[in-house]
Amino acid sequence: MSLKAFKRALWVYHLNTGSCNGCDIEILAVLTPRYDVERFGIKLVGSPRHADVLLVTGPVVKQMVPRVKRIYEQIPDPKLVMVVGNCGTEGGVFYESYSLAGPIDQIIPVDVYVPGCPPRPEAIIHGVVMAWVKLEKLVKQEVT
């Protein structure tokens, strides 16, 4: 696997749509010195306007739907959406709850799924790399 086309660092915007924080803690673990993804240029940013990847956790409660759509629209192209955790992937323990509008792929298009409750940091890093590879393909398509 070679990463050549996308020369910049990969910036990620993290959005919690009603998660129990389990996945969010694992995402933070990815940034700790033990895993330290920033050495690969992967880092969390505070605004979707700076992001390449939208990283979503949580099963998407109804009140979050317009916010999810708005944040997705605010990310510049080419962009990818990555879901971390069972809740965002298929509802998890909140499946068929009255307050849910998700899972996320019913609201915005999703490119990478990282299942788990919560997924291990290694799985999240693997998911980000998958997103990176897909993003490179998108960039190449736009160039050609």
Partner: protein
């Protein structure tokens, strides 16, 4: 011509400022050029980001600076009620005030001059 202005303690040279300005502009241009160009104009990608919330109109989201002086205005309410009344914003009223004050001043000066 050196363009140097010396005060005895320090000096001021516009050329240094121009060079510094040019250097800053080059740095700004460098960072601006490295910015993302892929965004689509006139879409949500150029709108203000407010944690995903809908951004209200400028009049609704900005707090007027006058609100800082609320206590001041509240304390001097009676005074301001009196002072604001003549401030109609109509230029004719202001001219009328000007003419009236000038006439009164002229009369006072005239009387004072005659009394001497």
């Amino acid at each position: 011509m050196t363009f140097i202005l010396e005060s005895g303690y320090a000096f001021w040279n516009p050329l240094i400022w121009l060079i510094a300005f040019a250097v800053v502009m080059v740095v700004v241009y460098f960072f601006r050029r490295r910015g993302k160009k892929e965004y689509k104009k006139d879409t949500a990608q150029t709108r203000i980001f407010l944690c995903g919330e809908e951004v209200p109109e400028a009049e609704q989201r900005h707090i007027r600076v006058g609100n800082i002086y609320w206590g001041f205005f509240e304390t001097l309410k009676e005074y301001y009620n009196q002072v604001l009344r003549p401030h109609t914003g109509i230029i004719n009223d202001y001219i009328l005030w000007f003419v009236a004050i000038t006439a009164i001043s002229a009369i006072i000066l005239l009387i004072a001059g005659l009394a001497k």
